[in-house]
């Protein structure tokens, strides 16, 4: 187990900048639709507004409803400590850290589902049920991608994956990058898996799960969502930037940040250009991603 205190700066960057990343997507969508769109910092304004409000709790809910958003945010924030950024290894690095990393996500999801179910609403139940099925199918894809990366580098730690002398390149990298992109879209409930902007409770997943949350709790949930987007796009960005030759300690991390912005824009483009899949087709997409990851694993050296 090793500490890398300098990497706390990366964690701090994530904590501060992640709402900005979430704000890029609607801006791109607005641009596509020919509108001016909301300010880039809109998510910060939203958070500030929500933190300044009171709250309404349903009489059906229990302590689970109050605890859920806090615990989800804490686990996702804690997973930042395990996330490397190319030249910056994770703040806390040990063998097998990637397992804890993935399971922290599962933990956050478990409590998000319980929070939704605690309201006793069938809408929220529906969202929770869909969240559970899509997460179940996303997890093998994520694990197979990680297995490919770890096998290629012969390491058991996330921090060493993108630092090795011979990073993953070529067809395998493209395959894994594609799988990770689908994982990113599914984990963050974006089109084509979920549509975060729809008005109809029946068709939503993540947004419907938080229908009954208000005030600071909703702020925490929004912030958790932005951190999740940051983390998933961060991994993909590192994979894409890793083949670039090392040049000082800062160039590649900065390049990765730029890639993350580009990825957020890509999500915006995807949301503007393709429609949400029908619910019954989403499992096919996710299982397909797992199959691609399996293919990537087979051809990786």
């Amino acid at each position: 187990m090793t500490w890398h205190w300098s990497s706390l700066s990366v964690v701090l960057a994530a904590l501060l900048l992640s709402p900005l990343l979430l704000g890029i997507i609607p801006r791109v969508k607005a641009w596509f639709a020919g509108r001016q769109g909301q300010p880039l910092f809109q998510v910060y304004y939203d958070l500030a507004k929500l933190l300044g409000k009171g709250a309404v709790y349903s009489t059906t809910t229990t302590w689970v409803f109050r605890l859920g958003p806090l615990l989800s945010l804490s686990t996702i924030a804690a997973s930042l400590l395990l996330l490397p950024m190319l030249e910056f290894p994770a703040t806390l690095q040990f063998s097998g850290d990637f397992l804890l990393f993935v399971y922290l996500f599962a933990m956050a999801r478990f409590f998000a589902i319980l929070t939704a179910m605690d309201t006793g609403s069938s809408f929220e139940g529906m969202g929770a049920s869909r969240e559970a099925i899509f997460a179940t199918l996303t997890e093998p894809a994520l694990f197979l991608s990680l297995a490919t990366l770890l096998k290629h580098n012969g390491t058991m730690s996330l921090s060493e994956v993108f630092l090795s002398a011979a990073p993953l390149t070529g067809t395998t990298m493209i395959l894994i990058a594609f799988v990770l992109l689908i994982v990113l879209l599914a984990e963050n409930c974006r089109v084509p898996v979920d549509d975060p902007t729809t008005h109809l409770e029946l068709t939503m997943i993540h947004e419907v799960m938080v229908l009954d949350n208000s005030g600071p709790d909703l702020a925490f949930i929004t912030y958790t969502a932005s951190l999740k987007l940051w983390i998933t796009s961060n991994i993909l960005a590192q994979l894409l930037v890793a083949p670039f030759p090392e040049h000082g300690a800062l160039l590649r991390p900065l390049l990765a940040f730029t890639t993350m912005v580009l990825l957020a824009m890509l999500v915006g483009v995807i949301e503007s250009t393709i429609a949400r899949l029908r619910l019954i087709y989403v499992p096919k997409l996710l299982v397909g991603a797992s199959m691609l990851a399996l293919l990537g694993f087979t051809i990786a050296r």
Binding site: L51, F110, D118, A128
Partner: protein
């Protein structure tokens, strides 16, 4: 060793006294539960001691042919004994209060006698050092648990569950008898394990047959798919503390049996590990999928036992592969993961069954779709059940995560170190564990939220409350153990697992110590991350409190989309929650749906029933047994009810045996 015998004696006498005290329920409960608690506590002393010292032995002759009353508690036996006696102790404590709830309807003497003999049977099975003694103890365990399964025998489904269990158990035993006969043939006709250990000239084919038979025989008890059919029927039928013990520890004697047989068979060829991995993957994934489709709370938990047995098999399988390919790291991590999961599953599954029992006692129903909102009335039960749910999903920082971590680790190493196509086993485990992880989260978010959250679906459940002291102590203790196992592994991991792994893998102890030390950094990392989560949650909680202070905090009904008359039955049910995932696997699950859709402009009635039967039972065993029954029906002419002709049969049999005997002379 004497302490162990005294413990067994206390259990036996206590059980008999409870039977004698049948007339007074309170006295019988005190006798049964009290003696079980004392007996288990006494038994734990030699079990713990055996982990670090030389094996404890006891030997005395017995007039039975091939049999001797030889007991030996080595580290492998000790490890399983700790798990068995530990959970039995808590089960007895819980049962003392739980069974007393039935005092008005039935006598409690027999259940307590069977309960104590179940513990004796399990303890002797693990401690036996002789094949025949092992089988006898196995039978004591089976029969006493059968008596407990048919506790509520006036219900037809309980009787049928008991019958299924009895038949399955004895088909299993048939294979076990073959295993021990084959072994004793190569051990100069002796049934003593000491002789089995000296077998050297075993051909790989014979060893393979023995291993395969023991997978079937022990797998039937352990609940490997497709030999698991008795499990989802029998576990819900038994009283809850017995379900906890059957599911938590009794099925583990099957795992113990496989490990014990492995020590006799010499170095394992790769296909053994591969077979175990296959069995594990099938049991694990399908077990949790079937669990997801259930709406009977205890049946759901029973299917989860199949899943967890699958995870254990995966761990042991990858460990065996590690031994076969001479990769000590994988061997040690895999076996450690499998063994640790044996203990962890006993803890959280015991906890969940006890929690389910508390709900059952309060509400008198196991049907999840009739429950709801129980958490408000039974806060303590809901907290411990949630802890158990988080643990069984393998979520950090609880114990389920630790053992799955070992198995994942071994498998990821396997993807790097196994030669060419053998990688497939490691990869299968990774995919299966990932899938199981997701499905378990779906399943337990469903079980917990449908039962404990939301609004009560049945208005009669207004006056339910948490159980009394004894039941609470047992549940809280197990919940605490879910947290403490990681600390136990960190500081006592080697004494707990080292010797046991040494016995199974025959690796050097130093080697094992070296490999196990690798787990320390991840565990410390886990602690650090958990404390970060804890701290930040506390901080957020205080911050929210500060923010909401002096602001308006309102109470309202749940957002109902403007519909004015929502009622509790409109909530998402367990069936509707699980439907997308269940339909995804409809080819195997074969859920039956009985739908009457609302029809016309003013629909009067509509209904929806879904039921997921066990596919192996419906498609494999039922047709098979129907054929057998048809064949036996052809022999009906032998049975006509004339006593004198039956006696003639006896005479003919005796005569022919006599002739046969003279013939071989």
């Amino acid at each position: 060793m004497e302490i162990f015998l005294i413990a067994l004696f206390v259990l036996a006498v206590g059980g008999a006294t409870a039977l004698a005290c049948s007339f007074n329920a309170r006295l019988a409960s005190w006798m049964g539960a009290g003696s079980a608690v004392i007996g288990c506590t006494l038994g734990l002393i030699p079990a713990v001691r055996s982990l670090t010292t030389e094996p404890l032995t006891w030997h005395s002759a017995w007039p039975l042919p091939y049999c001797s009353f030889s007991l030996k508690i080595d580290a492998l036996a000790g490890f399983f004994l700790i798990v068995i006696l530990g959970l039995s102790l808590l089960g007895a404590l819980y049962g003392g209060e739980y069974l007393y709830g039935y005092a008005r309807q039935r006598k409690l003497g027999t259940p307590w006698l069977s309960f104590n003999f179940l513990i004796i049977g399990m303890a002797l099975t693990v401690a036996a050092d002789n094949g025949l003694l092992f089988l006898l103890a196995w039978e004591v365990m089976t029969l006493s648990s059968f008596l407990l399964v048919i506790f509520e025998h006036e219900q037809a489904e309980v009787r049928s569950a008991g019958l299924t269990y009895l038949i399955a158990a004895h088909i299993g035993v048939a294979f076990l008898i073959l295993v021990f006969l084959l072994l004793s043939e190569h051990a100069s006709g002796s049934m003593d394990f000491a002789y089995f250990l000296q077998i050297h000239d075993l051909q790989s084919k014979t060893a393979g047959i023995i291993f395969f038979f023991s997978i079937i025989g022990f797998g039937t008890k352990a609940g490997f798919m497709p030999f698991h059919v008795w499990l989802p029927d029998a576990h819900p039928a038994a009283p809850s503390h017995v379900s906890a013990i059957m599911s938590g520890v009794m099925i583990k004697t099957g795992i113990y049996g496989i490990l014990r047989i492995l020590t006799f068979l010499g170095p394992p060829p790769p296909w053994w590990g591969g077979l175990l991995v296959n069995v594990g993957v099938v049991s694990g994934v399908l077990g949790v999928w079937f669990a997801l489709a259930q709406h009977d709370l205890k049946r759901l938990l029973a299917y989860h036992s199949v899943e967890n047995i699958g995870i254990i098999a995966m761990g042991l399988g990858i460990g065996l592969l590690g031994i076969s390919y001479h990769l000590p790291t994988i061997a040690v991590l895999g076996l450690a993961g499998g063994l640790l999961h044996v203990m962890n599953h006993a803890i959280f599954k015991g906890l969940l069954f006890l929690g389910a029992g508390a709900v059952l006692q309060a509400t008198h129903t196991r049907e999840m779709d009739h429950l709801g909102g129980v958490g408000k009335k039974m806060p303590l039960t809901s907290v411990v059940f949630l802890i158990g749910a988080v643990a069984i999903c393998g979520l950090p920082p609880l114990n389920g995560f630790i053992s799955e971590f070992f198995i994942y680790w071994a498998s990821f190493l396997g993807t790097m170190q196994f030669a060419d196509s053998r990688i497939i086993f490691a990869l299968a485990i990774i995919v299966a564990l990932a899938l199981i992880g997701g499905l378990a989260v779906a399943c337990f978010s469903k079980a917990f939220s449908i039962v404990f959250l939301g609004e009560p679906r049945n208005q009669e459940h207004q006056h339910i409350h948490d159980p009394g002291v004894a039941m609470t102590i047992a549940m809280v203790f197990l919940a605490a153990m879910c947290f403490l196992v990681s600390i136990l592994v960190l500081y006592c991991g080697l004494p707990l697992l080292g010797q046991t792994i040494h016995i199974v893998s025959k690796l050097e102890l130093q080697q094992i110590e070296y490999q196990l030390a690798a787990i320390v950094p991840p565990l410390k990392g886990l602690f650090l991350i958990s404390s970060v989560v804890l701290l930040s949650t506390t901080f957020l909680m205080l911050w929210r409190k500060y923010l909401l202070n002096k602001r308006q905090v309102g109470k309202a009904v749940t957002w109902d989309c403007g519909y004015l008359a929502p009622n509790a039955r409109m909530q998402y049910t367990s069936s509707s929650y699980a439907q997308p995932l269940v339909d995804l696997n409809c080819y195997i699950l074969r859920t039956r749906k009985d739908v009457q859709k609302p029809d016309g402009y003013f629909p009067q009635t509509a209904r929806f029933l879904s039921h997921t039967l066990d596919t192996a039972m419906q498609k494999l065993y039922r047709p098979m047994f129907e054929v057998i029954a048809r064949l036996f029906n052809k022999l009906m002419w032998l049975q006509h009810g004339y006593l004198h002709i039956y006696m003639l049969y006896l005479v003919i049999t005796l005569l022919s045996l006599f002739v046969f005997y003279l013939g071989i002379k």
